[in-house]
């Protein structure tokens, strides 16, 4: 089908007559039109695997989404434990490593006289954990730095929409969502006598699980 540029187009009787070439052009567009009009449209989100007779490759974004690759860095989340509290121990590693300095943490400590004092396997927890998503450069260093696997970027969400700039400053209720994660090395699992710490439960934000 490659067009031979050295060929003199005026020497072909079809092109001199003009009409047959026009009809051939029309045949191409008509073929596309009919295939797309009557063809089966495959809405498979991965376009390359579409099998339908229709030639449309559009993914209609808000309704259909292309699945992200496994390593995709989306919006942050604070990983909860099974009891719904964040795994974060307020060690400031992520805030320290963050090149954009968009993480702000205030640490709290469980009261020694607390009822759960006997089972103090975790001493610190974040009373405030704020990520300014407008400042974040989505480098993922906080995820790498975290020793407790408490912050992840696996939500596959991007471009969150808010009405105000303050809305992009995500706090614990907004950040704490997604499936809980536990490791065998978690201290409340290692000690026989230890229970889960009973600090104030922070209710998950309403967005949890809506993805």
């Amino acid at each position: 089908m490659a067009y031979d540029a050295s060929r003199n187009p005026r020497q072909d009787v079809r092109e001199r007559m003009f009409v047959p070439e026009l009809l051939r052009g029309l045949a191409v567009t008509t073929r596309h039109f009919l295939r797309n009009l009557f063809g089966q449209r495959d809405r498979n989100a991965s376009v390359l695997n579409r099998k339908g007779t229709s030639l449309v490759t559009t993914v209609e974004y808000p309704e259909e989404r292309v699945p992200y690759p496994p390593g995709y860095r989306g919006l942050h989340r604070l990983v909860p434990r099974e009891d719904g509290k964040p795994r974060c121990v307020a060690c400031y590693m992520c805030a320290t490593v963050c090149p954009a300095q968009c993480i702000y943490i205030e640490a709290g400590e469980y009261e020694p006289a607390d009822a759960s004092a006997e089972s103090r396997v975790i001493e610190k927890f974040p009373t405030t954990f704020v990520i300014d998503e407008l400042r974040c450069i989505v480098c993922g260093l906080c995820v790498e730095a975290c020793p407790k696997d408490a912050i992840r970027m696996d939500t596959s969400k991007h471009a969150p929409s808010e009405y105000t700039r303050q809305g992009f400053v995500y706090d614990i209720p907004k950040l704490l969502n997604g499936p809980a994660v536990s490791h065998p090395s978690d201290p409340w699992k290692r000690r026989e006598s230890s229970n889960a710490p009973e600090h104030q439960q922070i209710e998950p934000h309403a967005r949890i699980g809506d993805h």
Partner: protein, 442 residues
Amino acid sequence: MVAIVAAIAVLMGVTYYLAALFPGPAHVPQIIVLMLVFVMVTATLLTIAERKWSAMIQDRVGPNRARIGLPLLRDRSFGGVPHVAADALKMLFKEDFVPRRANSFLFNLAPILAFGPVFALFAIVPVGPSVQLMDRQVSMVIANPDFGLLYLLAIASLAVYGTSLAGWSSNNKLALLGGVRASSQMISYEVALGLSVVGIMIAFTTVQAPAIVDSQAHYLWQLSRNFDFGLPAWGIFLQPTGFLLFFAAAFAETKRTPFDLPEGDSEIIGYFVEYSGMKFGMFMISEFVEVVVLSAVTTLIFFGGYHLPFGEQWLARQPPIAAYPWMLGIILSTVFWIKVIILCWFQLAIRWTFPRFRYDQIQVLGWKMLLPIGLLNIFVTGALVLWDPSLRALALVGLLEIAVVAALTARRRPEEGAPGDRSLEAAAQHSSAHPLPGATRT
């Protein structure tokens, strides 16, 4: 699809009924229903159809975001049809801007002048046969002047006044350029348009639209006695060259894409560059009305009007239709609109297939190709009709022309047929012997 055809049929029935209820020389029901309902609605739907069909041609989805905000309808796009309402509302509520130094009288007059003549063209198009209904003879044509197609040519050239006045009065150099281009293009193609239908006038020996339609009802060769099947004397078979010339010239009159030099989106924005709101909307809708009217006129002249290609007399003999002839009228009118819609699609397909002409190419096509071919066509047609008044010789020549074009279209190029482009390899091997292999090969 079936619903659309049924809707057309029902509406045509309503038209016949109304026309029987309100008889009179003014043909008010025909004007209202045929022009305002059919032409206007078809043109309005064509605005969205153009966007949707072009999307299908280009493997896109097309507009589907406008929704009707009612509970059950909210999640359905209805093929993008709500976009029509959205566009209309947008145009109605936009600011009606008039440039400061513009001639405001002419500026306001131009959209009307562009809109009116196009509409008036439809007056001579017979949409259906005239039938007996409620003791009255009901005709489905708004006017039947003696000068028939000449009215068409006369009014069609009036539409350019709106275009060139719009370009001149809006005090904008680019708009003026567009207007001048429009008028020169119109002048070039008026000649070819006029010459292209002369062949039909010779063949059917009439210029009246209903007479032309009736001439196309009979068969040149009929194969069977009982069921009328054969080659109908349609203009496309008698005058394929004339059809080509007419379609090209009339397409140039609609100022749509292969001939959209007056608009010229990319270099001059067009004669309506200063228009906004509903005045621009009138220019735009008049373009689509032109498409519908051109389809109707082409159907009338070249595609047998409202007649079926076969089986019409057989259909008329069937018991319920023979008893109530208005049923045949409704069927035939529906056939007419189906033909019109198909031709509208054809025009849109042309518009989304072919690239634009350069300005000099437009003039070359008009004066050096269409005009001589049109003249030649007239002489050949006249000679053939003189030689054989039964039009069979003319049809044979026409079929021969169609066959030649079809054969040339269907035949694959030799270099395309070779898998792996063997001809190119051969050309590369011989390139030392022949400096220009392509020139020697053909």
